[in-house]
């Protein structure tokens, strides 16, 4: 397994929103979700994740409620708001477009002006 890739700026928020798009989760669940999906390719610092959550809560993209986990532990669950869902859709589209464009440029035949 190669060393994990550093995260491109701004993508952490997007990953978190994606994680929450299905069901509400608490912080560690989100971490696990991201790690599982990326098979360890992405280096997500745990503290950065919480900061992202708080930031998005302030902006009204997610809301948090205290609840209990399967093991009956008190945890803070994050849930996507309507605004958060809209943001996820918009940013995903943008990100895909960006990545496609960049990929097509970088993989094209070299040297043709």
């Amino acid at each position: 397994m190669s060393a994990p890739l550093p995260l491109v700026k701004g993508t952490l928020d997007l990953l978190v929103l994606k994680a929450l798009s299905w069901i509400p989760m608490h912080g560690f669940e989100i971490t696990e979700w991201v790690e599982a999906r990326s098979c360890g390719t992405l280096d997500v610092r745990d503290s950065a994740l919480y900061q992202a959550l708080h930031r998005m809560e302030e902006r009204g993209l997610v809301v948090a409620e205290w609840g209990v986990t399967e093991n009956n532990q008190r945890a803070r669950f994050y849930k996507l708001t309507k605004a958060g869902r809209a943001r996820l859709t918009a940013e995903t589209a943008q990100w895909v477009k960006y990545a496609t464009t960049l990929t097509s440029i970088l993989t094209s035949a070299p040297g043709i002006p």
């Binding site: 069901i23 509400p24 608490h26 912080g27 560690f28 669940e29 971490t31 696990e32 610092r45 745990d46 503290s47 950065a48 919480y50 900061q51 708080h54 930031r55 809560e57 302030e58 009204g60 809301v63 409620e65 205290w66 609840g67 209990v68 986990t69 399967e70 532990q73 008190r74 945890a75 803070r76 669950f77 849930k79 708001t81």
Partner: protein
């Protein structure tokens, strides 16, 4: 995994219930994360210690992160709390608007009365603010004092003689400097000739330092230089901003140009700023067009008491110090210079001199709007209270659903604040219209009126009044909110203790309204009666069917013969106009300025400062008839009173009594060098400065013998409508005095109206307020009685079924109404007796205890209360017992 499904919007209710600590929660969150991570790593095969270390490593520096995390959690919490607060307030407001919309009649009524109340308050405030509260537009106005010269009678005020003015300034240690203006400038004393036309404008001569002294900088150009203030210097003028704008199209190149004023070239040296409005400060209700320099020399000293003087106190010197010093200096100067006029300084703060005469009236109006707002508040409070109790069920449901009592109270307050703020918007529009209307009442003798506008200060007052009213209106109904579900549900107002308390609270509010209306009615009654007395005073002349026109010749005449020929020609032509019954000329009309000097009969000797002072009028033959001033004895002036003949005068009755008490004044002589003046006639006394002032001495000179006058006013008495007469009189004068025909044709009544105008203004406003208060009190009574009747329909039905007559029922309700009104009136009379003595200064011809004013106020209230009670009483007497009982 189980997630509590809680909608974000619901969250706030939990938050209200339990306060929590975001920092502790942040710690919990980190702790859980580390624990879950460690558990996971242990499951993956690490030892517990290694797993713990790895978890902390992955989290980053736990302590540093925890601190950051905590603060970000804290910040997030605060922001969210603010947002939630805003959300909940806007929710309350939306709810209030929905509720109010359902109750459209109430809402429209409430908005209307709040709008009127706030509109009136804001207009009166901007008036009080512009005239009284805001500092005068001068540098450090608090240090400015008005220095007058007390007349021999100890009451009237004279101006200062130039030498006294100079000596006071030089000798005083409490004054930094003094400035002044020539007080006897005549309206229309400057004839401006431009492009072949002449216009009569007004110029005020001021001392050289006048503008720098007041701290007024010319808009363009400069103030007078020392050279320009020497006697005989070539004339210079400063234009007022209005004059510059209206006549010279705000021409920036005006400075340095030469105008022709009074047949001589005068150089324009500057334009005054719009903020310095000489006339609105020193001569309200008139127009000033130019300032010119007034030389302080031996020549001007000979003009006698001519300077209106203003002093500037040195910093930290009190006005009392200056007063005692100036009084002492005056004594010294009078003794030291026996050949000069006497000088007895009277010292006042300048603002008091300028607005002192309107201060009591304005303060009274301010008090009146406070009372009006009180009534508006009581009225709305009572109505809101009634609405709140009819919503007990709704409130109970909300309590049952978990809303706290605090929340209900907040809701009630929000509702009344929404109402008052809505009303404030309407009020503001009314205030804008009101201030515009009042500030353009140019004929009013109220200083600084033009600067009254709706500005930030007025806006903040409006907001303050709206919020205060909202809270006052809301607080009673809010306290009426039920404490718990139980209470709310068991209470259906009817017959219960709460129902009784409800009626009592509203009764108290209605009593307050009636009492307040009573005070306003008594006050306005007193002022209306004073105003009627003022209008009824014996003017001494008859202004009806009489018009005036200035007919000063365009050029000064070289000799009296030419002048007399001109006057005779004017009178002959005007008298020939059909419809003219009498015509005459005078230098000064009543209420249009005055001058006076000491007079004595031949052989009478008075101490230097004891000479009787008489107001001087210079009039032509026919003047007394044209004015309707009756001749009491002797004869009026005739065409034979010309130079070369015996110099003659006419005195008024007061002067005749003053100089020759108990003797026949006809044939007596008044001292004058070289020839004494022979009294040939006695005429009736005339009011000449104010309607409210007593008659004073008057001395009439014939215009045909006495050239010392500065204006010529034609007075025309007619039996035709004035408008058509104006055209024919102008046509008659066209050949001999073309420039005069452009002057304003004024009815004599306008002069009288103008002096009565401030009083009329105050009376009209106060009557408006009192009328509004009366209507509100009536509506308050009506709403309460009518509510009572609807609550008691059942009881009334039973009583009717048991044999009470409709008349009995009606009488019972009317009695209740009148008892309520009576309580209000009793309190109102006592309150009025406490308040109205402070109006004494504004009353004329009536005492504050005037029984008629009180009686009329009480009678009006009884009538209005009876009318307000009549309709509910009639409804009650028509209750159908069978229907009422079935509904029960």
């Amino acid at each position: 995994m189980r997630t509590p499904e809680i909608r974000p919007g619901i969250r706030r209710f939990f938050r209200l219930a339990a306060k929590h600590d975001p920092q502790a929660e942040a710690d919990d969150e980190i702790r859980l994360h580390l624990q879950l991570r460690t558990d996971r790593l242990i499951r993956d095969g690490l030892s517990p210690e290694a797993a713990r270390a790895e978890a902390e490593r992955r989290f980053g520096s736990v302590d540093a992160e925890r601190a950051r995390f905590r603060s970000s959690a804290q910040r997030r919490e605060e922001r969210m709390r603010v947002r939630e607060w805003i959300d909940s307030v806007s929710q309350d407001v939306r709810y209030a608007v929905r509720t109010l919309r359902r109750d459209a009649t109430f809402t429209v009524f409430a908005l209307a009365i709040i709008g009127l109340g706030i509109g009136a308050s804001a207009t009166v405030f901007s008036l009080v603010d512009g005239v009284l509260l805001r500092p005068m537009p001068f540098r450090e106005p608090a240090r400015l004092i008005w220095i007058a010269n007390i007349a021999d009678d100890g009451i009237a005020e004279w101006r200062l003689q130039v030498d006294h003015f100079l000596d006071l300034g030089a000798r005083s240690h409490s004054l930094e400097s003094m400035a002044g203006y020539f007080a006897y400038y005549g309206t229309g004393n400057a004839v401006l000739a431009r492009a072949g036309e002449t216009q009569r404008l007004t110029q005020v001569p001021v001392t050289c330092n006048f503008l720098p002294f007041l701290g007024v900088k010319p808009l363009i150009g400069r103030s007078f230089s020392a050279d320009e203030c020497l006697f005989g210097a070539s004339p210079t003028v400063l234009l007022t901003e209005a004059n510059w704008r209206q006549r010279f199209a705000s021409d920036p190149a005006i400075v340095g140009r030469t105008l022709t004023v009074n047949d001589a070239p005068a150089t324009v040296i500057g334009v005054l700023p719009a903020s310095f409005d000489f006339n609105s400060i020193f001569a309200p209700g008139s127009v000033v067009d130019f300032l010119t320099p007034f030389p302080l020399t031996e020549e001007t000293n000979r003009q006698g008491n001519s300077l209106a003087a203003i002093g500037r106190l040195k910093p930290n010197v009190s006005i009392e110090t200056a007063r005692s010093e100036l009084v002492a200096l005056g004594k010294g100067l009078t003794a030291e210079f026996p050949r000069r006029n006497t000088i007895r300084p009277r010292v006042l703060p300048l603002d008091q001199r300028i607005n002192g005469h309107v201060r009591p009236a304005l303060l009274m109006l301010a008090g009146a709007v406070v009372v009006v707002m009180l009534i508006v508040t009581a009225n709305l409070s009572s109505l809101q209270y009634a609405r709140m109790s009819s919503r007990q069920r709704e409130l109970a449901v909300r309590l049952a659903l978990g809303a706290g009592r605090g929340r209900l109270i907040r809701q009630a307050l929000t509702e009344s604040l929404v109402l008052t703020c809505g009303g404030a918007v309407i009020g503001l529009m009314l205030a804008v219209a009101g201030t515009r209307f009042v500030s353009h009442l140019g004929a009013f003798d109220i200083p600084l009126l033009a600067r009254m506008t709706v500005d930030a200060r007025v806006l903040s007052i409006v907001v303050l009044v709206a919020v205060l009213t909202g809270v006052l209106v809301g607080v009673l109904p809010a306290l009426h909110a039920p404490a718990d579900v139980h209470e709310a549900l068991k209470d259906n107002a009817r017959g219960s203790t709460r129902g009784g308390r409800h009626a009592r609270v509203r009764s108290v509010l209605v009593v307050v309204e009636v009492a307040a209306a009573c005070v306003l009615l008594v006050a306005s009654g007193l002022l209306v009666r004073s105003f009627m007395r003022v209008l009824d005073v014996d003017l001494g002349f008859h202004p009806e069917h009489t018009a005036t026109l200035r007919v000063d010749p365009a050029k000064r005449f070289d000799d009296m013969a030419t002048a007399n020929a001109f006057y005779a020609d004017v009178l002959r032509r005007v008298r020939a106009v059909p419809g003219v019954t009498h015509a005459g000329l005078a230098d000064l009309l009543p209420f249009a300025g005055d001058r006076s000097w000491g007079v004595a009969g031949v052989g009478q000797v008075y101490a230097r400062d004891q000479y009787p002072e008489a107001f001087i009028r210079v009039v032509s033959p026919g003047y007394f008839q044209a004015m309707g001033i009756s001749l009491r004895a002797g004869r009026a002036f005739g065409d034979g009173d010309v130079p070369g003949q015996d110099p003659v005068v006419v005195v008024n009755e007061t002067l005749a009594r003053t100089l020759w008490p108990g003797r026949d004044p006809i044939g007596q002589a008044i001292s004058r060098q070289p020839t004494p003046l022979r009294v040939v006639g006695v005429v009736a006394d005339v009011r000449h400065d104010a309607l409210e002032h007593a008659f004073t001495n008057e001395l009439y000179y014939p215009m045909t013998q006495f050239a010392d006058h500065s204006a010529v006013n034609l007075v025309v008495r007619t039996n035709l409508p004035s408008a058509s007469l104006a055209t024919s009189v102008r046509a008659a004068l066209m050949p001999i005095a073309p420039e005069a025909t452009k002057n304003q044709w004024r009815m004599l009544q306008e002069l009288v109206d103008k002096v009565a105008s401030p009083r009329r203004f105050v009376v009209m406003l106060l009557m408006g307020f009192a009328g509004f208060a009366l209507v509100l009190a009536a509506l308050g009574i009506y709403a309460l009685i009518s509510y009572g009747v609807s609550q008691r329909t059942q009881e009334i039905g039973i009583r009717l079924a048991l044999g009470a007559s409709a008349g009995n029922v009606r009488a019972g309700i009317m009695r209740g109404t009148l008892v309520l009104a009576g309580a209000g009136m009793a309190i109102g009379v006592v309150a009025a007796a406490l308040v109205v003595p402070s109006l004494s200064g504004m009353l004329f011809g009536v005492q504050w205890s005037d029984p008629a004013s009180f009686a009329v106020a009480l009678a009006l209230l009884v009538i209005v209360a009876a009318a307000a009670g009549h309709f509910p009483a009639r409804r009650a007497s028509r209750v159908d017992p069978s229907v009422a009982l079935r509904e029960a």
